[in-house]
Amino acid sequence: MTTSAEQVTGEAVPSRPPAPRGSGRYGRVGVLLLLVVAIALPFAVPSPYVHGLLVLVVIYAINGVGYDVQLGLTGMFSMGQALVFGAGSYTVALLCTRADSTSIFIGLAAAAVVGTVVGGLIGLVGLRTEGPQFAMISLGIWQIVLIWVQNAVDLTRGPLGISLPSYGVLGFGDIGIELDSDIIVYLVGLGLLVLTVGVVRRLLRSRVGSSWLCVRENVALARAQGVSPFRARMTAAMVSSAISAVAGGLLAYSSGFVSPDNMSVSILVGAIVIVIVGGRGSVYGAVLGAILFVVLPEALRAADTLRLLVFGGVLALGVVFVPNGLWSLVAPIRDLLTRRTRPLDAGGEAR
């Protein structure tokens, strides 16, 4: 009890070395190594089939990281994720067909903006409630918009879908690299994934991220500490939706075709499975979840007609035996490799 109350309740804070933090140098080297491997992968394995899977992995991973912001970090069960994903896809499709704009910078930025707005609107209506009620309201909004998209033939061509007339361009106007191969789409997606993870992790080290965690952990205490649950959930919904819309936009560029399937239930289920299997609230876990979600069904092709049954069984067993997700298996290894300073070891008593 050496600290006097003035130090704690007053403005004056004595200087002291900061507490141990983060994974440090070794962690960064590890991440860089993994990135190099990820970049080299499509060149090392020259198979169009594998390249196609890699594209799906990065798109699902981006969507998963986005969904983790709501489901994992803020504890919100939004059913509107397929809607914002599809909104991103349609934004890109309409820009390509109606505005002749093939720049993916413009397309994905527009998708992010549209996603933010749609996510914000879902929040504005739905976040007057919380928990299951919010899930139901977001479900309702998604279904209403989905039916509208299927019927607004003039704009969306309904169930026929929209074919993109040309590839997206990594640049502006006609100047830049065309996204005409899965390798390029994959590399662009990888870059976006790194950016996304970076943005979310950066936000987690700000008061915005703190407000998300507060609301997830304990709403009453969050409010008592000055956090407005509505505001925290609203920012989570908007950030999450922006990210998922970018993933949806990227899918549009890679497949060259956008239909109501881009906002179908399989998108939502995919996001939920990826976040839960990867490890709720771990951010990196969503990447692992996406890899499993894409690769496992392919690996199970040998099981033929039983494929989905086995896939479902594996997921169910995974949730039972690894309840905290894949990241909970990887994190300890990471900590060991990076010799992350455990706050416990750093003990303050001896200081």
């Binding site: 109350a5 704690v8 007053g10 507490a19 500490q225």
Partner: protein, 255 residues
């Protein structure tokens, strides 16, 4: 905005259906003191706390902080004015470490904004360092420095009580409401709690109100005590006066 807040309740009542939980309570607590609120179970102490902290809205009456009416302000609004509280049933961020409880809970004093996170890296880093230094100071004050890496849900019960107080202290409370901080603590832990309370109040930057059953703790820590019974104030005064009052002995001590 700093300095202890004075608290005034004017004829505050709260009923839940037919139950009159708080019935016409008026009191005035000067800034920077340490006060006790005692009474038998069901006397309405926690309800009164909830009215002061904004968790409940009074059915009638007014709540004033430093002569400014704040009746009906939501909890997060009152927290912004410096009213911080702990909960009767120990409320922390269960799955976070002790240190993260302090960092995440310090929303009000956290200068690490979303804007600085991306556009002002140096400012952001300084804010981060300042927040962590503050967390270390608070950990030091509650004597939990060596426990900073422990996940909250695996803490011992007594430590949860200290952690709760620490989380509230992060936000520089001007009025600190502690709901039964001594409940379930053994004698040694109560002594440690008293030391923490002493450290909080020596700077006189904070008004502290305790709801407490431990009469010994209240009479040692508080300069003035209010006794509540069936939603009404029965008596108030210095610990000596209150605890020797015949009505208090009847309603509270059962003697």
């Amino acid at each position: 905005m700093s300095g202890a807040l004075g608290l005034e309740l004017r004829d505050v009542s709260k009923s839940f259906g037919n139950l009159q939980a708080v019935d016409g309570v008026s009191l005035r607590m000067q800034a920077a003191g340490t006060y006790g609120l005692i009474g038998p179970n069901g006397a309405g102490k926690t309800t009164l706390f909830n009215l002061i902290s904004g968790a409940h809205r009074p059915s009638s009456g007014a709540v004033l902080l430093d002569d400014e009416e704040v009746t009906g302000t939501p909890p997060e609004g009152l927290a912004r004015r410096g009213v911080l509280r702990t909960f009767q049933n120990t409320s922390v961020f269960d799955s976070l470490s002790v240190l993260d409880n302090l960092l995440v809970g310090a929303y009000l004093v956290d200068r690490r904004t979303a804007v600085s996170a991306f556009l002002r890296p140096f400012r952001h880093h300084r804010a981060d360092v300042a927040l962590r230094e503050r967390a270390e100071d608070v950990l030091d004050l509650v004597g939990m420095t060596s426990r900073r890496g422990v996940v909250a849900k695996s803490l011992a019960y007594g430590e949860l009580r200290y952690l709760e107080i620490a989380v509230a202290l992060m936000s520089r409370p001007r009025l600190l409401l502690l709901d039964e901080p001594g409940a379930g603590l053994n004698e040694a832990e109560v002594t440690r709690l008293e030391a923490i309370l002493g450290a909080i109040t020596t700077g006189r930057e904070t008004t502290v109100v305790l709801v407490e059953h431990n009469v010994g703790l209240v009479s040692r820590a508080c300069e003035r005590i209010w006794v509540l019974d069936r939603g009404r104030l029965v008596v108030d005064g210095t610990p000596d006066v209150v605890l020797s009052d015949q009505r208090v002995r009847e309603v509270y001590l059962g003697a």
